[in-house]
């Protein structure tokens, strides 16, 4: 990984890998990003959360110089980023939205061209990264024949052609199977251990919760919450669970007498409960004592998810009255929501 003896890294210079101050971007009348401040330290993994249209992707595009900010400063690895004339700062890598490649070229050829745009890579490096993302056997195939997961892996391979000191990834695990998503998490953790700062956006609150040290939550172009995961957990409201019993009416009546538990009847049966863990334990024990059998108890919304919905104003599935449905972002809804809320 990065050379620990080198004093050119932000960690050695005791500087943040990414420092964003007062970043503003409008598209015509649309306020996409509105005064965002953000810091990512070396070795830190920061999750960027927000509903569709919150401005996450536009913010990331500005970090790469794809979109010119109206106002604000960005420092990448300690260097002020000059959109007008500078190439991408050495050591910064990543991708925004799904990685795009040339479909008429093979995966290997795509990597060779991207390496060339960087001024080249050492011999054998392309084989290494192909192996790392498990694309060696498919490297000779045209990228147009790849599945979305394979294109995602190819994008990651392109990111890894050089040692990143700052990694900016937009939904890196989207399109990947569970094994691929797990590998990504392992990769990011490994890079962070070696000092790479990581900023990644995700719709998946559980993924962020399991990986990040810090979280920034965006809404309507602004950062509405920023801090460590531990602090977020401490400030988060009670988690939500879905409960199915042998007698939901009696269970609901029992919850009404217990002020520490809030229960809402679902349209398709079951109860949605909001309660602290200790209060929930007591409630379940009380159900048993009352002769009500617990048939199923599932975590509907973690504390972080609850906090996310509270901060962003997004509607959760439980608030829509159906404990069976889960929020599932899609590309199509992405574009629509961007238009509606930005």
């Amino acid at each position: 990984m990065s050379d620990p003896s080198s004093d050119s890294t932000p960690r050695a210079r005791n500087e943040p890998a990414l420092a964003v101050k007062g970043l503003v971007k409008h598209f015509e009348e649309t306020r996409a990003v509105d005064g965002v401040d953000l810091r990512v330290e070396p070795g830190e993994i920061r999750g960027l959360l927000g509903p569709n249209g919150a401005g996450k992707t536009t913010l990331m595009r500005m970090l790469f110089g794809l979109v010119r900010p109206d106002r604000g400063d960005v420092k990448l690895l300690g260097k002020k980023w000059d959109w007008a004339s500078s190439p991408m700062v050495q050591g910064v890598a990543g991708f925004v939205e799904a990685p795009s490649v040339y479909p008429y070229l093979s995966g290997r050829c795509n990597l060779e061209l991207l390496a060339q745009l960087d001024g080249g890579v050492p011999d054998g490096r392309i084989d290494e990264v192909l192996e790392m993302v498990r694309l060696s056997k498919m490297a000779g195939r045209k990228a147009g024949q790849y599945s979305s997961g394979m294109r995602q892996r190819l994008g990651l391979a392109a990111v890894l052609l050089h040692v990143p000191q700052l990694l900016v990834l937009d939904e890196p695990s989207i399109g990947l199977d569970p094994v691929g998503a797990r590998d990504i998490r392992a990769l990011l953790l490994s890079l962070a251990l070696d000092g790479t700062a990581v900023l990644f956006s995700s719709h998946n609150v559980v993924e962020v919760e399991g990986l990040c040290h810090t979280v920034s939550i965006m809404r309507s172009g602004t950062v509405v919450w920023d801090g460590t995961l531990a602090r977020l957990r401490a400030e988060a409201p009670a988690p939500a669970h879905v409960l199915w019993t042998s007698d939901d009416d009696a269970a609901a009546a029992l919850a009404e007498r217990d002020h520490a538990v809030s229960a809402i009847r679902g349209e398709s049966g079951g109860l949605t409960l909001k309660a602290e863990t200790r209060a929930l334990d007591d409630y379940v024990v009380a159900l048993g004592r009352a002769g009500i059998a617990v048939r199923r108890l599932e975590l509907l919304m973690s504390p972080l998810e609850s906090m996310f919905f509270e901060l962003t104003g997004a509607r959760s599935s439980s608030e829509e009255g159906s404990p069976e449905e889960e929020p599932e972002p899609s590309e199509a809804s992405d574009a629509e929501t961007l238009g509606a809320s930005q």
Binding site: L114, Q116, G119, M132, L187
Partner: protein
């Protein structure tokens, strides 16, 4: 990717080595281009097109006589490069050049790869310059391949016989070769100007289809304007500059003017193109940014139409075709051709029964007017008639030549076979050759 973390931790990764420049972008774009089927087909057309064209012509009795040098395709291998240059200047260059230039920037929009390219180690200006240079290289390659292929095809399939030039004189193989190369070199700057137009439309509209079609449509409109006499600032006029190198008094003026106009187009298109690329927000699926896209396309279209109209208005110039210029050029060309025919038959030339012996001076008194008019006439048209007189004023010997004068200053003159004999004649060796007086081409010259 399960091994990723382990591999990352175990193996020393290369330290970030960012620093791609124009040359790196150039190599990348050249490699991308060489892998595209359409580009390969276009280059194959450049290489094989002239050969196949001449091979087909060789099997046929009729010749493309409506094109300069077309009537000499069976006679000299040097005619083909000039015929191909004429065809290419009329439409071929626009189409071949637009295939690459019109899609050079728009393809990144189509594949969504702008962000892939711009998040690597090169600057926007490097990408812009690299792509522009590759498009220019391809365009130069088109010119080179067409020129070499048509020259080689002509020499292989027909031979290196002398060819009759636009002033009616016989050009030796050496002179024909140098004029061929010189003529093709005059196409370089206007071809690069059309390349720049394609690049600009590719950038402004973000559509490969529009990028490819726009230069072709604009080229067609310019050709139309030229016919109507609006020639000075039209790029298509620059493609005719080689005509002036083959007339009796070679004139570099049209080449210089064409070059200045081409350079102005190149400078305008590239500076505007860079302005658009340099300031563009690559905002992906943000709807507001897409609305800007549509606005930009409409604006580009309106600007293009307005620009063509303004350029057209500023380009008007009276036609170089008038009684005086035609009289001078038709007469001098005819006299030269009479000398050529005398050499071919190794004897006198007979026109309407009058004999013109070799070595004897030929003094013709021309009078060119448009059909039905009296006195000096002007403008292109196929109704010109040139009357040639020889002998005493009171009782002259006369014959008439029908002249079809084009807007670009060139003409095709033809005489009745009863006056000058049939299309095919026998030379002094008994070989069948084309009668040079039956029909001949030329371009107006300044007396």
């Amino acid at each position: 990717m399960s091994a990723a973390a382990g591999t990352v931790g175990a193996a020393p990764l290369p330290v970030a080595r960012r620093g791609g420049g124009v040359w790196d972008v150039y190599r990348v774009e050249a490699r991308k281009l060489s892998s595209q089927l359409l580009v390969r087909i276009a280059l194959a057309v450049c290489v094989l097109g002239p050969f196949l064209f001449l091979a087909v012509i060789k099997t046929q009795a009729t010749l493309p006589a409506d094109t300069l040098f077309g009537r000499w395709l069976h006679t000299s291998g040097f005619a083909l490069p000039f015929v191909m240059l004429g065809f290419a200047g009329e439409a071929g260059f626009f189409v071949l050049v637009s295939v690459v230039a019109g899609d050079m920037f728009a393809s990144e929009d189509r594949y969504g790869t702008w962000q892939t390219v711009l998040t690597r180690g090169c600057r926007r200006q490097d990408v812009f310059i690299g792509k522009t240079l590759v498009a220019a290289t391809y365009s130069l390659l088109v010119v080179l391949l067409l020129a070499v292929s048509s020259l080689v095809s002509g020499l292989i399939l027909i031979g290196s016989q002398p060819v009759i030039g636009l002033a009616g004189e016989l050009l030796s193989p050496d002179r024909a070769l140098s004029l061929t190369l010189l003529s093709w070199s005059t196409a370089i700057l206007p071809v690069l100007a059309f390349t720049s137009l394609g690049l600009l439309f590719s950038i402004a509209t973000r559509s490969g289809v529009i990028g490819m079609l726009a230069p072709v449509v604009i080229g067609g409109m310019m050709a139309l304007f030229s016919i109507l006499g609006f020639r000075t600032l039209m790029l298509t006029t620059a493609f005719d500059a080689w005509h002036a190198l083959l007339i009796r008094s070679p004139d570099p003026g049209p080449f210089v003017q064409g070059s200045i106009v081409s350079i102005a187009y190149i400078a305008f298109c590239l500076s505007l193109g860079w302005r658009l690329v340099g300031r563009r927000d690559f905002a992906g699926s943000v709807p507001a940014a897409r609305r800007v896209d549509r606005t930009a396309r409409i604006r580009a279209g309106v600007l293009a139409v307005a620009a063509v109209l303004v350029l057209g208005a500023a380009s008007y110039r009276p036609s170089p075709i008038d009684s005086s210029s035609l009289q001078y050029s038709v007469t001098s060309t005819l006299v030269n051709l009479m000398h050529v025919k005398q050499q071919l038959v190794d004897g006198p030339v007979v026109i309407k029964g009058k004999t013109f012996a070799p070595g004897a001076p030929i003094h013709l008194r021309p009078s060119c007017v448009r059909g039905g008019q009296e006195g000096p006439s002007r403008g292109p048209g196929n109704d010109w008639v040139c009357t040639m007189e020889i002998g005493p004023q009171g009782n002259p010997f006369q014959f008439e030549i029908d002249v079809d004068a084009k807007g670009n200053g060139c003409f095709t003159a033809s005489m009745d076979s009863l006056l000058v004999g049939p299309l095919s004649i026998y030379d002094y060796r008994g070989h069948t050759v084309i009668n040079p007086l039956y029909e001949f081409d030329g371009c107006v010259d300044t007396p």
